[in-house]
């Protein structure tokens, strides 16, 4: 069987045309845009990143567009095949309502919103030519079949255990399948030279983000966390030119490294962990910022963590390059979809130690089971290490904003 899904029971796509909902989507985006525009100390070239993220018309595209989910798909392969990778995870609560028409209400808002954006003609998801979905959680695993009605799709099978000796071969074969799938649909061949160059380019992105993180650990006020997330997400979630992104981020880095704080920073330092926060869902970030605390580091797969691990190249053969990609995208991942949560707890504790943070906030997305289940052990272990800890359980909707504010304020009092 060549394709993963067959067309026997294909269901015709039902686009929904809901101008009211679209208005609401744009309203949510505008609201976030407005909140972010009032940040005091913004980089001077933030406009570049904003232009990428605030774009609404995606109909024109120069290259075939490949949409993917999660942080476990080797973007380098897509770029090397001369296509445009776009990460499709969506953070808009209005879109989630659209998705609910197909999915039940008991599915996590991220999956609903991502699917909901497909149902509108002309949306970014709709303009994609190919989808790649990793089998990271149940929602994603089953969403593949829904998506297969619309576009060619490849389900990237992940191992459930980060056992290198058992599953490295499995993952390698899986990545070969992915390459085959992509090159047959994009009608181009993966060349070793090009893949190598792209990996080198992506390594630059990693180094840049690591440097940004390093400066932010020293003085978090140099760059607001929402702006940092905006910068990171503009390179992932929307069509962009990576080399241009790198030059602009270098400017940001230069700017914030010369930043001199006017007074001593006494705001409490927070390490943020948990489920992904996708623009415009920066609700929690905004509240933490407004309550007077700094998020100094994060382990979110949409934050700095998304590009924190570099692809380490030792040998330059195609096989070795693909294996290096697996190491970075599958085995270095701290996603809770793997059976052991040791590496995530390690990362959190290590970040707390490195940043000298005062507390840890775990953001668990409502109806996301895997993050919800990990909260128990994380809670116990973090408290054992005498670190203040709080769990936030919320979804995309803005209704519980004030309740959250009260809780976070109370939490910051204890620091």
């Amino acid at each position: 069987m060549k394709d993963q899904f067959n067309d026997s029971y294909k269901i015709e796509i039902g686009y929904t045309d809901n101008p009211g909902n679209l208005k609401k989507q744009y309203f949510i985006e505008d609201q976030q845009k407005h909140i972010q525009s009032e940040i005091v100390n913004r980089p001077s070239n933030i406009k570049f990143f904003e232009d990428i993220i605030y774009r609404r018309d995606f109909s024109e595209k120069l290259k075939p567009r490949v949409g993917y989910f999660c942080n476990m798909i080797p973007v380098e392969i897509i770029l090397a095949l001369d296509a445009e990778p776009v990460r499709l995870d969506c953070g808009n609560s209005a879109t989630a309502l659209v998705g609910e028409e197909v999915f039940s209400g008991e599915i996590c808002p991220l999956a609903k919103a991502s699917f909901g954006s497909l149902l509108r003609k002309g949306s970014l998801t709709d303009t994609c030519d190919i989808f790649i979905v990793p089998t990271s959680c149940d929602a994603k695993r089953k969403m593949g079949e829904f998506l297969s009605d619309h576009k060619p799709i490849f389900m990237f099978n992940l191992p459930h255990e980060k056992n290198y000796s058992l599953y490295s071969k499995f993952s390698y074969e899986e990545i070969l399948r992915l390459v085959d799938f992509l090159s047959s649909h994009l009608k181009s061949k993966l060349s070793r030279k090009k893949l190598f160059d792209i990996i080198k380019l992506k390594q630059k992105q990693t180094t840049l983000l690591r440097k940004l993180q390093e400066i932010r650990i020293k003085m978090p006020e140099a760059l607001n966390i929402s702006d940092l997330f905006l910068i990171v997400q503009s390179s992932l979630f929307y069509p962009n030119d990576l080399s241009q992104w790198i030059t602009e981020t270098e400017k940001v880095l230069e700017e914030i490294s010369e930043f001199k704080p006017e007074r001593k920073n006494l705001r409490p330092r927070i390490v943020l962990t948990g489920a992904p926060m996708v623009w415009p869902n920066f609700k929690v970030l905004n509240i933490i910022d407004e309550c007077g605390a700094d998020v100094v580091a994060d382990t979110l797969c949409t934050g700095v963590q998304s590009c924190f691990d570099p692809v380490v190249i030792d040998e330059k053969s195609k096989k070795a390059l693909l294996r290096a990609l697996i190491n970075r995208y599958v085995f270095a991942s701290i996603c809770p979809c793997f059976i052991s949560q040791t590496s995530r707890i390690n990362r959190v504790l290590d970040l707390v130690e490195e940043t000298k943070a005062d507390g840890v906030i775990n953001y668990s997305l409502r109806l996301c089971q895997i993050f919800d289940l990990e909260k128990y052990r994380l809670d116990k272990v973090v408290k054992q290490n005498k670190i203040t800890y709080m769990n936030i359980n919320t979804d995309y909707s803005l209704e519980d904003k004030e309740q959250l504010r009260v809780r976070i304020e109370a939490f910051l009092e204890t620091l």
Partner: protein, 503 residues
């Protein structure tokens, strides 16, 4: 110059003793573990050195004592004590100028020495210019490496070390000759064409001090043309011990007893070197592995992928290496029973059975002096063709092992296996801070011997294991800062520093 050398030779003699090295490293590891006070530790070491010096002088006065002490002395030991260990332990920023001063002096001395020999030797002799006293050459080379280390990355430093050591071990053999007379004597002995293909003295390292044997825990082959800086590898020593006729020793035969004494002394020195370096000798010095790495380099340049042998194949490799080593060592045991035709129960048995099938004996001489030196393939009369097929198969495995699967050979190499025993519990260790690890698998990917233990171990701190050759590639490439580190005597020597490297 020679007056100066003699002077140093006389007064610095106690420091060339293996005993001094042994006590020094034991004391050092004890002090590094127990105390933090640097001044007190320095004083203790200086006091100990003075006491040792005094005892050595006293023992040297007696006749049998001086013979034994002489057997255990070698210029390698003071180089380790006064250059290698300080270079590793002292703060590199602060002490760097002192590391420059002594090496510069040594390199100047070495050049003067070469010039001295060159001007006195007759013309038209190939390597005669290379005659240089080991006491100058060894520290000069080591200090050259210490200087280089400051300016290079870990990867380049390892390559430089490997190439330097390859040149030293394959071409530097004549440095043990003190002057031109020794050199010509060695040449004449080497040209003994009556010797059989299996005979002992076909290219035996001829040394001025025949009872000062040094065996390295790596595989510096004794058959290479200008080799002989050291006597050979671990397996050669073991075969030598097996060849001894213990009936003769029991009856008090003086020549056999002195052979045993030399072997015991060499074994003791070997153990000390192993305790310090363990398998690091394989990863940084072994010429066989360097030659193999040249093949690996060609493969990399061609962009060819490497094979990853599966678990059963790895195990099969390990046990066949062990079986071959055991079998050939038992063959060496037959040496005293060989009759006057050179046969045992009707078959011909070579003196050094392991060397006959070892690819080192094929590869190192070729690397040192071209294809003329390729030893003839043994005929069918040697143990029913065992050696004939053995040598071909092993050479094939060596070439394939390095060309297709990085260091496949090294997990098979009996010389290295001995070093592996000391990998845990020796002076050096590979440490991992588990909380920094996200098990990304970079260490498993870059490891030339496919060790996955370093990545999989999430509880223990000490991740050194039997197969590891301490090439430190994993430490170099690890993307998590401070996660992996290399320790010498429980002191951190180098650690993974991804962010630092990118700056």
């Amino acid at each position: 110059m020679s007056y100066f050398y003699e002077l140093v030779n006389t007064y610095a003699k106690p420091f060339t003793s293996a005993f001094y090295l042994l006590f020094f490293i034991l004391l050092l590891s004890f002090l590094l573990r127990k105390t933090k006070n640097k001044k007190a530790s320095m004083l203790i070491i200086i006091g100990f050195s003075a006491v040792f010096y005094f005892i050595y002088i006293l023992l040297d006065a007696s006749k049998s004592g001086s013979v034994w002490l002489n057997r255990l002395s070698n210029p390698i030991y003071p180089v380790v004590i006064f250059l290698v260990i300080p270079a590793m332990l002292f703060n590199k920023q602060k002490w760097y100028r002192y590391f420059l001063f002594i090496p510069a002096l040594l390199i100047i001395f070495a050049f003067i020495d070469i010039y001295h020999h060159y001007s006195s030797a007759p013309e038209g002799i190939g390597f005669s210019w290379f005659l240089i006293r080991p006491g100058f050459l060894l520290p000069a080379l080591v200090s050259f490496l210490i200087i280089v280390q400051r300016f290079t990355t870990l990867d380049t430093f390892r390559k430089t070390t490997r190439i330097t050591m390859l040149i030293l071990l394959l071409y530097g053999g004549f440095v043990f000759r003190q002057n031109f007379i020794d050199y010509s004597e060695a040449l004449s002995r080497r040209k003994d064409m009556t010797a059989d293909v299996m005979a002992l003295n076909e290219t035996v390292p001829v040394m001025k001090y025949d009872d000062q044997l040094v065996y390295l825990p790596a595989a510096p082959c004794r058959f290479s043309q200008d080799g002989g800086y050291v006597q050979g590898c671990v397996m050669e020593l073991f075969q030598r011990i097996m060849q001894l006729d213990f009936r003769k020793v029991a009856s008090g035969n003086p020549s056999e007893t002195s052979l045993l004494a030399i072997a015991v002394a060499a074994f003791l020195a070997l153990l000390i070197l192993l305790y310090i370096g363990a398998r690091m000798w394989c990863g940084w010095i072994c010429p066989l592995s360097t030659i193999g790495d040249a093949l690996d380099f060609i493969r990399r340049k061609c962009g060819l992928p490497h094979l990853k042998p599966s678990r059963p194949i790895k195990l099969a490799y390990f046990f066949s290496g062990l079986t071959l080593a055991t079998f050939t060592l038992f063959l060496a045991k037959l040496y005293p029973r060989i009759d006057e035709n050179g046969k045992f129960m009707g078959c011909k048995i070579p003196l050094y059975p392991f060397c006959k099938i070892c690819p080192g004996q094929q590869v190192c001489p070729v690397a040192s002096a071209g294809f003329d030196q390729y030893p003839p393939v043994p005929g069918m009369e040697w143990l029913f063709g065992f050696f004939r097929f053995g040598v071909i198969i092993m050479l094939g495995i060596f070439l394939i092992g390095f060309m297709t699967a990085r260091k496949l050979w090294c997990r098979f190499c009996p010389m290295g296996m001995v070093g592996g025993i000391f990998n845990k519990g020796g002076m050096i260790a590979l440490k991992k801070i588990n909380t920094k690890c996200n098990s990304c698998g970079v260490c498993s990917e870059v490891c030339p011997i496919d060790i996955q233990y370093v990545q999989m171990e999430m509880e223990k701190k000490d991740v050194s294991n039997f197969d590891c050759v301490y090439c430190l590639k994993c430490v170099d490439k690890c993307p998590q800062d401070k996660c992996l580190s290399f320790e010498f005597a429980s002191k951190n020597i180098t650690e993974s520093d991804f962010t630092g490297k990118e700056k």
